[in-house]
Symmetry: C2
Subunit: 95 residues, 2 copies
DNA sequence: TTGACATATGAGCGACCGCGCATATATAAT
DNA sequence: ATTATATATGCGCGGTCGCTCATATGTCAA
């Protein structure tokens, strides 16, 4: 039987992926690096909401940022996120 | 850019895994087949709560049931669930 | 059929959280 | 300095959802 606190960490990870707004953002970042207003425009999500969700993803170490003038570019911090997304996406849509 | 409704299906899947009670149940069912009161006893979750969560997992086609007398045994419906759980569990606990 | 055990289910409450709104901060251009 | 653009953040509301409680249903034994 797996330790409860490791299950809880896994829950925390799943929670991050279990909101449509966040998952759309994650799906977009799987494709590459984008700044906030590109995400806002592409996904039709308000600037406030995008910023809120990106802040959460940043706190949880899912994404990293890079400033370039007025723009802040977001990208995935590592490949784990991508792999987990791809695995779930495949399973959710194959049967 | 991935279609929105397929993202939404993926969200639905992630939501299923993003509650501690459900994920503990899922983690237990990854190990084998168990009846309701075994889950109740092992995980220290109320009988009502276990039944509610199992009902949800049944509706979403994550688990299947088998009756044996008064007992109803639950098990995972396919290997997808197991794979997704293992992938997330590994990533959540390795860094 | 009555009682005990196993499981399911409906109702209602409370907590969590994503969102919009307003505003703050940061950078660059004039 | 002022203005415009880009992004971040605090607050409060509303919806969602997991829980408890009570009760229903199902199965078996006596």
């Amino acid at each position: 039987m797996k330790p409860v606190n490791e299950i809880d960490k896994t829950v925390t990870l799943f929670k991050l992926f279990s909101d449509p707004t966040r998952l759309k953002i994650i799906a977009m970042l799987v494709e590459g690096e984008y700044c906030v207003h590109e995400i806002h425009d592409t996904l039709n999500i308000s600037q406030s909401s995008v910023s809120h969700q990106l802040a959460m993803l940043r706190e949880r170490n899912v994404v990293k940022t890079r400033r370039e003038g007025k723009l802040i570019f977001y990208s995935l911090k590592d490949e784990h996120v991508k792999e987990l997304f791809e695995t779930a996406y495949a399973h959710a849509n194959e049967c």
